[in-house]
């Protein structure tokens, strides 16, 4: 695939909010209908711009949650001290307009033509672009084996839980809950570390490619961990969300 065509420069367009789905108490998926969408690649993001009545503008980037070919959707986590995310997750209504541009990103993308086993490491809302990758993998009937390790504070914070639970087709999903676990929890606990990665990630000999996404500190630890397992650095793709430390 040659990549999404660009019309020279990215232009802002006004999309309509078509649907809103609450994923967790602080996370919402927004389905958008832009008038002129050229499609996207799994892993890309788009920029959203809000304009207040006094002309004040705020711009943020959000990973695309949908797979190429599906209705465009982003998943947004409400940050307590945020300015845009509380608006998007609590005030936005179906029928509202949202200015966006995209898709953006040519590095943190996955194509089904690559048959390398996939190691996907998600920290909190870092799961969003990885979910796009998994949905695209499914949509295209790819047989590439995938392992997702998803680090979250607690079970109620896990996004797409039901959907991720439905993967049986060569996708292994593991969770590590870092702050609290439900009674009888048999999954992993605590922040990601070398031991957990050795346990869960594809071994380096399998020649995997890794996608690591989440708060900066999570990505630093996780990516370094994979390199420590023998992954060549160029086979570990990273996307940092920046944040308050995360899960």
């Amino acid at each position: 695939m040659a990549g999404t065509a660009l019309r020279g420069r990215l232009t802002w367009q006004v999309a309509t909010v078509a649907a809103l789905t609450r994923e967790t108490a602080s996370v919402c998926t927004i389905v958008l209908e832009p008038p002129d969408w050229a499609g996207h690649r799994a892993g890309q993001h788009l920029d959203v711009r809000l304009t207040a009545e006094d002309g004040y503008r705020a711009e943020r980037s959000y990973s695309i949650a949908s797979a190429p070919g599906e209705r465009l959707a982003i998943t947004v986590e409400r940050l307590d001290d945020g300015e845009v995310s509380p608006y998007l997750t609590e005030d936005l209504q179906v029928g509202d307009e949202l200015e966006l541009r995209g898709p953006i990103g040519g590095y943190f993308v996955w194509e089904p033509g690559d048959d390398s086993p996939l190691t996907l490491l998600a920290g909190g809302s870092g799961v969003v672009p990885l979910r796009s990758i998994l949905r695209y993998r499914l949509r295209t009937g790819s047989a590439v084996p995938a392992r997702l390790l998803y680090s979250a504070r607690a079970l109620p914070d896990v996004i797409y839980r039901d959907e991720l639970g439905q993967h049986h087709d060569g996708v292994q999903v593991s969770y590590t809950l870092t702050r609290s676990q439900p009674p009888g929890w048999t999954g992993h606990t605590g922040r990601i570390n070398a031991d957990l990665l050795a346990n869960v990630a594809w071994p380096a000999e399998a020649n995997p490619v890794a996608y690591v996404c989440g708060p900066t500190s999570f990505v630093e630890t996780a990516a370094a961990g994979l390199v420590g397992l023998g992954y060549p650095p160029e086979r570990v793709k990273t996307e940092r969300f920046g944040g308050t430390g995360g899960p």
Partner: protein, 86 residues
Amino acid sequence: MEPLDGNAIGGLLIDVFGAEMTGVSGTCGYCGNTGPVAELVVYRQAPGTVARCRACGNIVMVFVEVRGTTCVDLMGMASLGQPGAA
């Protein structure tokens, strides 16, 4: 506020270069480290956007928006590959 990476300035780079740049390979003018633009360390909250080499920390790109025009300084980069060539 933790720094981001070059993915976060994907849109800005398209504005400036007219092309997708995050997968493009750049070489640091200070230490010679080569890697994708997506892996630069990016600080966005200052009066301008600053991208630093992940290996040595020196500044390789600065973007400042002055009265609606984005001014770019790439003097910290020894080279920047062609868009589309990762």
